[in-house]
Amino acid sequence: MENDIKKIEVITDSVLQRRLIQAVDATGVSGYTIIKDVAGKGLKGAKDGHGISGGFKNFYLMVICDEIETKKVVEAVRPIISKYGGICLVSDAHWVIHN
């Protein structure tokens, strides 16, 4: 369907925000959404959102794009997540409103 797209979600350390955004920008996608100071728990322990260095905080990145762009973004994100840790999810999505 024409309105079917992919939703990519990435959660990783706050200190990696700059380099992850650079990598995603380099793929040419037209936009993304970031949520800073995300807390939670994963393989590398708890991130309680506390502390002033960013060492205990994650950030969340969401990219909506087509299938071809999805492959580019995933490949751009892969080395960072592999090296530093974090998660990358891709799910099917459907445009309802997009202005």
Binding site: D13, L16, G51, I52
Partner: protein, 326 residues
């Protein structure tokens, strides 16, 4: 100043707020300071202390002693992580030993600011070069930690990302927000002298103790949340977190005697050597040494060395220096 007066100064605000934060966490209170407010107050404290240091440096001028203090600070920021690494390697692998050694070579701005407040309460002055020394000691150990890691750990020599990391690391080490604010304020203070001090007094002076109290409350909460990690750290790391500040403080006192520093400057230089970074270094280590475990290097600096220095170290260093100078 006798011991009673020292304790009186020590237990006057802001230090007790650290214990309130710590106790609140241990009692499972829901006390929480939003992280953006913590960030703001930490930048405020650096701006206030940097500005004050700049004004004092303007008054004292760049003397031979000022240059000697700055040079010795840089040398110690390189030497401390080297011997810390050698000790830590007895129990830790290369990445964790390098990251923790880097923490101990760098400084804790909050410990430094708390120490400056103790001197202020006692009416003892110290020179603006100490703020410059703090700024100079922030970064070298990060570079030393990374060099130790890259030279001594096994990794793929063809991994080009290491070169990119180094460039990014240099930028983040020398241009991280805290250092920019600290050095920027120092320069503003340096050019604006006493007139500037009067203008800034309501911001950098009048509310300083209140802001520091609030920040130490938050640090108590943060340290309290990491205190569980002490159990996991084990005897060796707990011992390291307590003995290393004492050894570094001993060196600081010795060097301050060799440099013929007065009481205030000797105390501040000692505190710089004795403290460990849990803000700037962990952020840099996360990028530069990804296989080091933040669950080791952050709690040792934050939940062991920082409270030890606040509770016992600062009064002890002060007492020793005062006894020597008496």
């Amino acid at each position: 100043m006798n011991v009673d007066q020292l304790l009186h100064n020590f237990f006057a605000p802001p230090v007790p707020f650290f214990f309130i934060g710590l106790l609140a966490v241990l009692a499972k209170s829901d006390l929480e300071i939003p992280s953006q407010i913590s960030k703001f107050i930490s930048l405020y404290l650096l701006m206030a202390i940097g500005f004050k240091g700049g004004v004092e440096l303007h008054e004292s001028g760049i003397t031979g002693q000022v240059i000697a203090v700055m040079l010795v600070s840089i040398v110690m920021a390189i030497v401390i992580p080297l011997y810390c690494f050698a000790i830590l390697r007895r129990k830790l692998d290369v990445p964790n030993a390098a990251a923790l050694a880097a923490s101990f070579g760098s400084v804790s701005a909050v410990t430094f600011i708390t120490a400056s407040n103790i001197l202020d309460s006692a009416g003892i002055k110290f020179g603006g070069e100490m703020m410059a020394a703090m700024a100079l000691m922030e970064s070298p150990s990060i570079i030393i930690g990374v060099i130790l890691y890259r030279k001594l750990s096994k990794h793929d020599e063809n991994d080009k990302s290491h070169h990119m990391d180094m460039k990014e690391l240099m930028r983040e080490s020398f241009l991280n927000g805290s250092i920019v604010v600290l050095i920027g304020s120092l320069l503003v203070g340096l050019v604006s002298n006493e007139h500037g001090m009067k203008i800034m007094q309501p911001f950098t002076g009048d509310i300083f103790k209140g802001m520091l109290s609030f920040f130490l409350l938050d640090m108590g909460v943060v340290a309290g949340r990491r205190i569980g990690a002490i159990k996991e750290a084990g005897f060796f790391l707990v011992g390291f977190g307590i003995l290393m500040p004492l050894i570094n403080a001993g060196l600081g006192i010795l060097i301050s005697l060799l440099l013929n520093l007065d009481q205030g400057n000797a105390f501040m230089l000692t505190v710089l050597f004795a403290s460990a970074s849990y803000i700037a270094v962990p952020a840099a280590m996360r990028i530069a040494i990804p296989d080091a475990n933040p669950g080791i290097y952050v709690p040792v600096a934050l939940a062991i060395t920082f409270p030890f220095n606040i509770i016992a170290g600062l009064p002890l260093y002060y007492w020793i220096i005062q006894t020597i100078h008496a």
